[in-house]
Assembly symmetry: C2
Homo-oligomer: 133 residues x 2
């Protein structure tokens, strides 16, 4: 289970923003250069992060992105969940955690997969950006 580059890039960028939090808006071009990530790709990643209300943007010269709340209030789960879909869920599990592997599914594995899912979510929710600086 590897994280996609999308998640990885997103996380690295968010950590970058957290490190420069007091400096106000940071343009993506700076982050792209810092982290050696393609600017165009990073733009689309930030479109998602913005939609998830994890960052705010300011247009125009000297604009850029800022965290929408303090590094202590944003957890890793939210970031990964926004970028790679429902974090720690399984192929045969829908958004609510319901398993649908069989038609007549009184599926014996449902509680098992759910348990694993929740363990990972809990672990990620417990890590805040502040802890990663």
């Amino acid at each position: 289970m590897k994280f996609s580059t999308r998640s990885t890039y997103g996380l690295r960028a968010m950590i970058n923003l957290a490190q420069n939090w007091q400096k106000g808006s940071i343009p993506l071009s700076a982050i792209a250069k810092n982290e050696n990530i393609s600017l165009g790709y990073l733009e689309r990643i930030f479109a998602v992060l913005k939609k998830a209300k994890l960052v705010k943007s300011e247009k125009g010269a000297s604009g850029g992105y800022v965290l929408s709340s303090s590094p202590g209030d944003i957890d890793v789960y939210s970031i990964i969940n926004a970028l790679d879909g429902e974090a720690s869920s399984f192929h045969c599990m829908d958004e609510g955690g319901k398993v649908y592997c069989n038609e007549k599914c009184e599926c014996s594995v449902e509680p098992a997969l759910l348990k694993i899912s929740q363990a990972i979510s809990a672990a990620l929710k417990n890590i805040k950006l502040k802890d990663l600086i």
Copy 2:
């Protein structure tokens, strides 16, 4: 971060084996039918699980697969790690946990990604097959 069907199928099959542990070898055809998974695909999944020494096989009629140790001794981390590569690692992180996003990488995110990686691994190592029956 979704688990691939490979991991999901593998987990479901392993849970199935754990449930039938006392019955000895179970043929893949039974699991495939039970779990509604394509037999050919399941065969390749079990080739990996066997290589990782998580299951043992017996050829021939009335053969099949058994867990290599008791359901209390096999954890979810081992299964997912075998099937989907180093569990909870990142795009820019090699097997040892070293980050290589930049050439001149005294990379500031390395400890961060490592911390996340380890949190997930720990959560998964803590769940045994026995806990999922």
